[in-house]
């Protein structure tokens, strides 16, 4: 039985009070998406599926929602895959190999980790323009990946640091090259870290708004965050039922990924693999 500290109900009460506004927000989304009119969180209109009409038709001049969903999946999946792959290699090198400038590089990664990436928006814009990647999904994926890499490298370095040197020596004596050790020994041993980073970056990228909004113009490359935003800031009057439905539609995949990946995320915060 889990140990309950004294006054646990008081703690629970405080936590519940803090969480309440967020819960109310979610409640509003769920209720609002299935009702024609809502006062506060009280449904006053009729229950309806009308708000979900965006699933079958284009709303205004926006691209089909399925295009936006696919783009978001490609964006979040691409960022996740790239961050994990490149961070893993970089982190292994920093953790295990000695090369000139290693300490300097390590410091740089740490500084970049703390650096507000948004201040690089304009610079990134110019880079993408020069590369011809402006208004393309690949371009945003690259920018997002580079912004998330310092975090990924630091996280995975911690996991690689946890692998015993003797194990690596054993593999060397057994006849493996460093590249071979990286693939067949080190990577499988930090798998919890890789999964955690993959889930985390996927979720962050899924919710990312500023980068797609800045670097994507055409409707066919819209992500869901742009789609949702377009319903709030437009000339037409916001249809709150529709906004709620799209919002719920946007949240559901993220919730699914979180539910599947939460045990890896826990691993991430305890930062280490057990052998």
């Amino acid at each position: 039985m889990p140990l309950r500290p004294r006054g646990w109900w008081l703690i629970l009460l405080v936590l519940a009070a803090i969480t309440l506004p967020i819960v109310v927000g979610y409640l509003w989304i769920v209720i609002g998406s299935f009702n024609t009119r809502v006062h506060g969180i009280t449904p006053v209109g009729e229950w309806t599926l009308e708000n979900w009409r965006f699933l079958g038709e284009r709303v205004g001049r926006r691209p089909p929602i399925w295009t936006a969903l696919l783009n978001t999946l490609l964006f979040a999946g691409g960022v996740s895959l790239l961050v994990v792959t490149v961070s893993a290699m970089a982190a292994y090198a920093i953790s295990r190999l000695s090369f000139p400038g290693r300490g300097w590089f390590l410091g740089l990664v740490l500084v970049l980790h703390a650096f507000p990436a948004v201040s690089l928006l304009i610079a990134s814009y110019y880079v993408l323009r020069v590369l011809g990647l402006f208004d393309s999904l690949v371009g945003v994926v690259l920018v997002m990946t580079s912004f998330m890499m310092p975090f990924g490298i630091w996280l995975l370095k911690g996991f690689f640091d946890g692998i015993s040197w003797e194990m690596e020596m054993a593999a060397l004596v057994d006849g493996a090259s460093r590249w071979r050790i990286f693939r067949t020994i080190a990577l499988p041993l930090v798998r919890p870290g890789l999964f955690a980073l993959a889930v985390f970056t996927f979720l962050v990228a899924w919710g990312e708004f500023i980068l797609p909004y800045t670097f994507i113009v055409s409707g066919r490359t819209w992500t869901l965050s742009i789609y949702l935003q377009s319903m709030l800031g437009d000339f037409e009057r916001a249809d709150y039922g529709l906004v709620a439905a799209v919002g719920l539609f946007y949240i559901l995949p993220a919730v699914a990924v979180f539910l599947v990946g939460q045990r890896y995320l826990l691993d991430m915060y305890f930062g280490g693999s057990k052998g």
């Binding site: 003797e166 194990m167 020596m169 060397l172 004596v173 041993l189």
Partner: protein
């Protein structure tokens, strides 16, 4: 190739002027050592003495700053570990936790691209020899420490290397299994006839298992000799005090007129001994509880078959190991048989007299 080795083709190892520095620390001072093919050698010494450094130099994990390493007529010090043909057992066993014992043992063979059916045959054979055939489908965390240790030996030995390196392979085992494992490793090594180097800080392990023992301290080889020789004729005061338990009694003093003199203790020595400052050593088991030297018993420990007695003579204390229960008086009479006295100069080097 491996068949040749079993027929007496075991590979000798030769270290010539081998040295290693870490930053400003000289971890290993230039070392010369010749190991015959098929021998089991122990590297013995306290931690930080250079024994593991030497082992890792031989394995190719560390790169030597100076010197050469020869396996038979093959110079290997410039080679990658995988090209040296060594097997190694680590203190922590360093098994790969995500692989079954079978895949752990098979790993070196897979890297050599040995065909699948031969991998299976060889892994099962070595597992049979080491008594872990039933555990092959398990992961390291699912078997006992003793079985993990055998799996580590199997992995080191499965590719039939020229040299087998063992880094404290027994120190993570329970005391009871450790004695048994000692015998097993020794038996296996003899059967395979593979040249082997065992690193240990446990002198009883080194003396019991090795054909010859290399004693290290402060990055320097102190003596390389058979266990008998180490015990009977330690090359210096460090070896004298490190090998043997309880340790040898050592006194600093002076040889003058057929006597060794130190703070109230006078030991008659042969007149032929050179006079001057020196160190005198005698093992606790060689001090006799009869004679002319008077001492005071200050401690007494029964040790089952023997008794360990602490005696104060003048300002000096020494230990005496005796099978006969010492008399029940606080005053003891001792003598130091000249045959069992060891003489070292002021720097600690043995003086042959």
């Amino acid at each position: 190739m491996s068949a040749d080795r079993r027929n007496g083709g075991a590979v000798p190892v030769s270290l010539r002027g081998l040295a290693k520095r870490f930053g400003s620390v000289q971890a290993l001072k230039p070392l010369d050592l010749d190991i015959a093919g098929g021998e089991l050698i122990a590297f013995l010494g306290p931690s930080g003495c250079g024994k593991t450094t030497t082992l890792l130099l031989i394995a190719g994990i560390y790169r030597a700053d100076e010197g050469e390493i020869w396996f038979g007529d093959r110079r290997v010090d410039g080679l990658h570990p995988r090209d040296r043909d060594v097997g190694m057992v680590f203190q922590s066993y360093a098994l790969y936790p995500h692989l079954t014992l079978f895949e752990n043992i098979a790993f070196p063979l897979r890297l050599k691209k040995v065909p699948n059916d031969e991998v299976k045959r060889r892994v099962e054979h070595i597992a049979e020899v080491l008594g872990i055939a039933e555990q092959l489908h398990r992961r390291p965390s699912q078997v006992s420490g003793g079985q993990q240790q055998r799996a580590a030996i199997a992995r080191a030995q499965v590719k039939e290397p020229s040299i087998l390196l063992l880094d404290e392979p027994l120190s993570n085992l329970d005391a009871k299994i450790r004695l048994q494992a000692r015998g097993e490793i020794r038996r296996l090594q003899k059967e395979l006839g593979v040249t082997s180097i065992l690193v240990t800080h446990d002198q009883s392990e080194a003396l019991a298992m090795a054909d010859r023992v290399a004693v290290f301290s402060d990055g320097q080889l102190r003596q390389f000799a058979t266990p008998d020789e180490l015990y009977a004729r330690p090359a210096d005061a460090f070896v004298a005090s490190f090998v043997g338990f309880p340790p040898m009694n050592l006194f600093e003093g002076e040889v003058r007129g057929g006597e060794f003199l130190t703070d109230g203790l006078r030991v008659p020595v042969p007149r032929s001994w050179p006079e001057g400052r020196a160190r005198l050593g005698i093992r606790p088991e060689h001090v006799r509880l009869e004679g002319d030297v008077e001492g005071e018993m200050v401690g007494f420990e029964p040790q089952g078959r023997e008794f360990l007695v602490n005696v104060r003579v003048g300002a000096r204390q020494l230990q005496v190991l005796t099978t006969a229960r010492p008399p029940d008086t606080s005053t003891l009479r001792l003598s130091f048989p000249p045959d069992h006295l060891h003489l070292f100069d002021e720097e600690g080097a043995r003086l042959d007299v």
